[in-house]
Symmetry: C3
Subunit: 261 residues, 3 copies
């Protein structure tokens, strides 16, 4: 990877406190000319799965050479390692708690390093704010193109985490929800590879069938619909409404494909 | 318009998901050196009127040459057109659903174009995420100064939308609220042109009179006040309080000017 | 101070309206090349103490030469002065209502100036939006290195504000909470200088003892813990939980140090 100077933050720090600002300040201190952008800081506190899912949805939209700092780190101050993982096109910095796993597991990893060198950290140290003291400075150095080989020792294996996969019941795949977005649309874990896409007619959830459509516009306002979302997952929605609220979906709600007769 | 490299986003995507990040990523992919800022992403889901109102309040504060990408797009994937509208001082990108109308309707339009050229879009395509796939790349190209004439065909007319105007009852104008801000202050649709500003003494809403003042400081803490706001509208507030909550104002609440005897 | 071109905003404007965008637009209008970042805009409306506390937690993380614009200004439009305060390493812009006091009071002040020159303001003027019309343009000029001496007259004294200090009851210090963060962690006003840190074993709050630890990892998930936070204050938390919600802490809750026998 050839760093392009862009540093992207994804955390569960929220937007009310000073934590995000302190991280960005530490990044600017390490490298004044870094270009900083955010994915979100509203990951549910400590939710490694949610952080991982959001990263997986959008990292590939960024130009090659982009560096990501991901801090969803309920184990801060314990013995989990701070990691740098460099792939062909991107660099990732974050705790070794699985949050980076789903993304890097499908990429070609060039380096996987435990951050140990003080040269890669900030001047301050704490037991509770590695975002500021370790992850942001390391990310900023990466974004500036600093050679990673002196950041610390190589790591052979990292903590694994996987999103729940669809399960086969009798002869059919049953999916569940991985995520609900702001609009109340639900992203299932059903990909085209799990289904007979030629015959797929919709999704049954409880007593409601969400008919498959190409766009929301194919159903009436207020009607249920399912569609292949921009992330490749089968998604469900209410046109101009909030499906999660109306049907009280949870992440444990199961979804069953409906096929044409 | 001569583009100044600045790209401003205004959407209803919220700040919790990855949608805003994916849009910005697509903008950076199209034009690495674009300067990105946000108005807000907290427009109520699908509210064309709210998106339009917020854009109208602040676009003119930006330097000439700024490009705006506005994505409040409940009809994404249907046949509404993706538009580029260039005025003397600014460029606007967004769906043809009225959200750009109140702003561009009062400006001098140089070009109004339906985005059709793949050169102006991103590499990905979807039926549900034109913010990433069309609007952000197009905005980024505009911000970089790309000539718009090859983006697509000219459009003769666009979908219209207007904010509700004050109505005359007997001999007086009756206003209503167009917007409530974070502080609970209410912006009415009453402009100086609607009222006898020399004789204006306040606004009556229900049984409460909000006396006209130049600043909050002219009334006691906790007292109602009305004033000509920074946007030119007559606004009502409670000094150091939340008028919307206290009086349970809605957008249908009517306001009636009170004149000196 | 030698300005480094970076301008940081901290306000109570929220993230839903256009106020932050208008401020940034005014900053760009004054100085196109300024680098803009945010601390937060979610300070509770009008809370000078909260704005001040958040600024105090993170300003020192930014590189020397950074300019801060702080707008928590319930008295906008009254006779409070708009201030520029320049210290050895930083520049601060904001209303003279105490919000800058806790930070600048401990720094070496080079200049303290009341903004009066129209050259330092924006082109628009209003009685209710000095963030856009005065503070942002002034901050942008400072960030660009404009000499402050012509901005207005020197000010001899400014409005003071101090965070509540621990109080001595019998022979012991009793603290209280200054802030609760997104995670429900509570920052007390107890610093190491207030306590016998060698003998400190924890904090008693109501009937619960929060044992002192170096990291969250020293206690079980769901257990209470106290620790010296990244800001130097003694903080309390529930590991992987929300202490504020569980114990219904408020800013008036008192905390009492527990020492080893």
């Amino acid at each position: 990877m050839k760093a392009n100077g862009t540093l992207i933050f994804l955390t569960d720090f929220g937007s009310c406190d000073w934590y995000v600002a302190s991280m960005k300040a530490a990044a600017l201190t390490a490298n004044k000319s870094v270009q900083i952008l955010d994915i979100t800081h509203e990951i549910s506190p400590g939710s490694v799965s949610e952080g991982s899912f959001v990263l997986d949805r959008c990292y590939h939209d960024f130009p090659a050479g982009t560096t990501f700092v991901v801090v969803v780190d309920p184990g801060v101050g314990t013995y989990r390692s701070p990691l740098i993982i460099i792939t062909d096109d991107y660099a990732f910095v974050g705790p070794d708690n699985g949050v980076l796993y789903p993304v890097v597991n499908k990429l070609c990893i060039q380096h996987c390093i435990r951050i140990e060198s003080p040269e890669w950290m900030g001047k301050k140290t704490s037991n509770t704010f590695h975002g500021r003291d370790i992850f942001a400075p390391a990310g900023s150095h990466l974004a500036a193109g600093k050679s990673v080989t002196e950041a610390g020792p190589s790591v052979e294996s990292i903590v694994q985490f996987e999103f729940p996969k669809p399960v086969r019941q009798d002869s059919r795949m049953t999916g569940r929800f991985l995520y609900f977005d702001r609009f109340g649309n639900g992203l299932t874990n059903l990909l085209s590879e799990h289904l007979d896409t030629q015959a797929l007619a919709g999704l049954r959830i409880g007593e409601t069938v969400f008919p498959l459509a190409k766009t929301f516009g194919e159903v009436e306002v207020g009607d249920p619909v399912c569609y292949w979302g921009s992330s490749g997952f089968l998604e469900v929605a209410i046109r101009d409404g909030n499906a999660k609220e109306r049907f009280q979906f949870t992440e444990n709600t199961t979804t069953e494909p409906v096929y044409e007769n």
